[in-house]
Symmetry: C2
Subunit: 303 residues, 2 copies
Amino acid sequence: MALLFMSLAERGAVWARVFEQANERFILGEDAVTDPAEVTHLACWQPPADLTVYPNLQAVISVGAGVDQMPAMPPGVTLSRTIAPGIEEMVRDWVVMASLMLHRDMPQYLEQAGRGEWSAKGVTLARKRRVGIMGMGRIGRLAAASLSAMGFNVVGYSRSGTPVDGLNVFGADQLGDFLAQSDLLVCLLPLTPQTEGMMDAAFFAQLPQGALLVHAGRGKQLDMAALRTALDAGQIGAAMLDVTEPEPLPNDHWAWSDPRVVITPHVGSSTDHEEGARHALAVLAASRSGLPIPGEVDQQRGY
Amino acid sequence: MALLFMSLAERGAVWARVFEQANERFILGEDAVTDPAEVTHLACWQPPADLTVYPNLQAVISVGAGVDQMPAMPPGVTLSRTIAPGIEEMVRDWVVMASLMLHRDMPQYLEQAGRGEWSAKGVTLARKRRVGIMGMGRIGRLAAASLSAMGFNVVGYSRSGTPVDGLNVFGADQLGDFLAQSDLLVCLLPLTPQTEGMMDAAFFAQLPQGALLVHAGRGKQLDMAALRTALDAGQIGAAMLDVTEPEPLPNDHWAWSDPRVVITPHVGSSTDHEEGARHALAVLAASRSGLPIPGEVDQQRGY
């Protein structure tokens, strides 16, 4: 049993140390592989084109929380996404920050500050703002709990519509009803064929006039041209985006200089190198003892 | 028993309607007073220079949450500050937003966005950030609860040092110890002779290098020149200010264009006209029945 890690030297050095301490076999980079049959686990962001060169491969570990960059796994190969302590809380914190920034008119105040203009708007009470969260995974539930605790009226949306934590959750067949009551919409959905390109003109038209958009899902879910049209029409009031298509967003993209849009460079979470290595060790341990693989991805659903 | 309201016509019209519905005598503006002896209550932001022209005055009501603009009351006159539902939650929301913005490097990302630069920094876990909150009134306690719930390590500071809600609270004689462990400092103190000018060079020097400052107290508590020096020295990393001295901050003030400082125009809270009027009615009702006056200010302490 050996783990092949495809990564840069800096991160590789941290992993090498953690694996050495745990007495687990660790190979950094494909060039260092002497016997492909030895490789049982592969950790990477983008895997090699042909995984079948490793005949005894048991699991592929995405070093991030997302797996939409991964190809289909060969039969019998488990796909695991890195779950490190605090990752989901990091994204929750970004979502709460972004939601509060839109709720409290930060885009306007930032624009005014650029002109040295002191001009106060009235404050809307949190309980008068209806928040709709798309994606009821752990991050969505954490965000719902934090925003509810601050008084926002929060509902959820998920494919199944299964209620969680006492929250009203709309299912896939109730998307229109869900959008119609989302003054502030938070997207935390995984990228799947169903969610790619989901946020388009027809989607925005179902939101209340002037709705606010917090996007921490995946860039490909949002039609940026449709967003711009919706902003111009006043259908969307303002947006906070942590993900874009493409990433990095080109230097001359319109969204950088639009005062109604605030962009952060995909910083919802970042995995500490050591915590990433520990997740990989946990996958090895589970493989060895036949226990469920930590972070295992349902390859049918795609998350 | 009559209430004299010194305000602008728009707010006055809302109050007049609320008072009429409650069958309480309401006078809008000093010019409308025919019998000064009739005035038992006065609601205003800045009171008239001579309150003794109203011989039967029982209470003065500040239409805001602050009373530092008020002169000393004549003997026997109660001072009340407006407490409306949600006011303290509004300030808490601003404080949580500002704390998260500094915690998650928003000043840097906003500056980068101005150049169209996509460059991600690592994320610090909330539990690795020590937050110190100065002011353990209701807003301070609400902010402490919200930030603690998100994982931040929160301690408090108050004159008495009395622990609240299981929080470790430093007293006035432990200011240095409190500051030394505040990576992120939140000021929510009332303006008093003790707090005026409190945040100066000597104060900043006691904070950890690169500390972050969230200021939602009063402008006069912060020495802006000392803040600029501390930012240049790296002693303060960044600051979010909702209060300044003076207000409005002049158009050409250095802080507007400093990327390390984000300013909002005193928007921590705003009182809904109708809710302000209801508070005044509650004061009248308490006066009539001899019950404690809502929002009564301890005139010795000044808050």
